[in-house]
């Protein structure tokens, strides 16, 4: 791990300016990172381009991650930017097999931001950090002129120790392995879309923001040798995360579409807006690929965690159609499931 990255087609960044799509977590984001940013910094720890970088420090395998949070509105049903900033970084470490040991936080604040809003976010961060059992040990604050940012942006940095029993690597994924998901998808992305109010849609829906470490911890305790790969499917959704895996392991992934858990309201919103729940962001779910012989035990592990009753086996890895993700239905229909292109835009006509 962290040594030689699997071969990957070199992406060129030829776009002339930054668009919103470069931040949406789909193909454009990938092009930006792989075509413009990563080549300048090229080094072995960066090469896998996973959500957390791992390296040896004094004989211990360390995972680190940094993540910026920009969200409009700052507060939304089920959470706020502060909780996202803690949970997101805890989760990036968790799916690298590391429990967060410490976090740091950097704030960019807009002049004119009510102090009460900032205090509420700082308290939300403190509560989320307590809940995840991780201290916030340092940080930075900067203020920009009014109109230069949407209230506040938060960046967090996290560090943790990788569980030594694990070898997480896309290249360890084998045909026959199964794909496990911790719960229903799309709650966060649809909640944010509705909370912006532009679409005038209402639903009783909450962001799923939470620490996924309890899932990872239980999974490692149950079948440490059978866990091949994990990811928290945030921007770009499950479809994008699995496409990245398919590309990195060179195998095909078959999703049983009816088995992917989606809440009624998320489906409703997706049907109204012409969106695919597989492309919608999550902030409290884990995707894991585990060995077939561990499938039931791994599923049991996820389900035994509080809030894990919606966990499901949603698909498996096949040797055929390497590099792609295929959806299959019970009546035998198949479709290629692509990465997200750009931002998920409502389709109307």
């Amino acid at each position: 791990m962290g040594a030689a990255a699997p071969p990957r087609p070199r992406l060129k960044f030829a776009d002339t300016q930054i668009e919103m799509s470069h931040g949406a977590g789909g193909k454009a984001s990938r092009r930006l990172v792989e075509g413009l940013i990563a080549p300048a910094f090229a080094n072995p720890a960066l090469a896998p381009l996973s959500d957390a970088a791992t390296f040896l420090l004094g004989g211990t395998r360390i995972a680190t991650t940094a993540d910026g949070y920009v969200v409009k509105p700052l507060r939304f049903p089920g959470g706020s930017i502060g909780e996202l900033a803690v949970n997101g970084t805890v989760n990036d470490l968790a799916v690298a097999g590391a429990r967060a040991t410490a976090l740091m936080a950097s704030f960019i604040l807009e002049a004119g931001l009510p102090a009460a809003e900032l205090r509420a976010e700082v308290e939300a961060m403190a509560a989320a950090a307590r809940c995840a059992g991780v201290p916030i040990v340092g940080g930075d604050t900067k203020v920009v002129e009014h109109g230069m940012c949407d209230g506040m942006y938060v960046s967090t940095f996290g560090i943790g120790e990788v569980d030594e029993r694990l070898t997480l690597d896309p290249r360890s994924v084998r045909a026959g392995d199964v794909v496990l998901l911790s719960g229903p998808i799309g709650d966060h992305g649809i909640t944010i879309l509705l909370a912006r109010g532009e679409l005038d849609l209402e639903a009783d829906l909450q962001s799923d923001t939470r620490s996924v470490w309890p899932f990872v911890e239980r999974l490692i305790a149950t079948c440490p040798a059978g866990v091949r790969w994990m990811r928290d499917p945030t921007r770009g959704g499950v479809a994008t995360a699995l496409n990245e895996l398919a590309r990195d392991c060179g195998l095909g992934i078959v999703l049983r579409e009816e088995d992917v858990p989606v809440r009624r309201e998320v489906r409703g919103a997706c049907e109204v807006l012409g969106l695919d729940p597989l492309h919608i962001a999550n902030e409290g779910q884990v995707l894991a690929v585990v060995a077939a012989e561990d499938a039931e035990r791994a599923l049991g592990a996820f389900r035994s965690v509080a809030g894990g009753d919606g966990a499901c086996l949603i698909g498996e890895v096949r040797a055929e159609r390497g590099g792609s993700v295929i959806g299959v239905t019970r009546y035998g229909g198949t479709r290629a499931i692509d990465m997200l292109v750009g931002d998920p835009l409502p389709r109307i006509c």
Partner: protein, 95 residues
């Protein structure tokens, strides 16, 4: 070409008679019913929604008939012939 979806009228908006609140799978939105006569769309009705407008009222009996007919396709050949007869009879009636 045009994304439209059935939803149920769950609330009338008294101060705006052209609007009703429609629920699609637990997602609610105000929808304009100005393409219908006043009072033609009532509470509990199912309507087809497109860009914030109700285009059509869903007929439950037609939906049930369709499913029943398609289900009958799976039965034996004789029953299937009956279904075909039924389809064409229904067509003739409608014209």
């Amino acid at each position: 070409m045009c994304l439209a979806i059935p939803g149920q009228v769950v609330e009338l908006v008294p101060e705006q008679p052209a609007l009703v609140k429609v629920d699609v799978g637990g997602v609610r939105r105000n929808v304009n019913v100005g393409l219908f006569e006043p009072g033609e769309i009532g509470l509990g009705d199912w309507v087809l929604i497109h860009v914030g407008f109700a285009l059509s009222r869903v007929s439950e009996s037609e939906a049930r008939d369709q499913l029943r007919m398609l289900g009958a396709l799976g039965e034996d050949e004789l029953a299937m012939e009956e279904v075909r007869g039924y389809t064409f009879a229904a067509d003739a009636e409608r014209r």
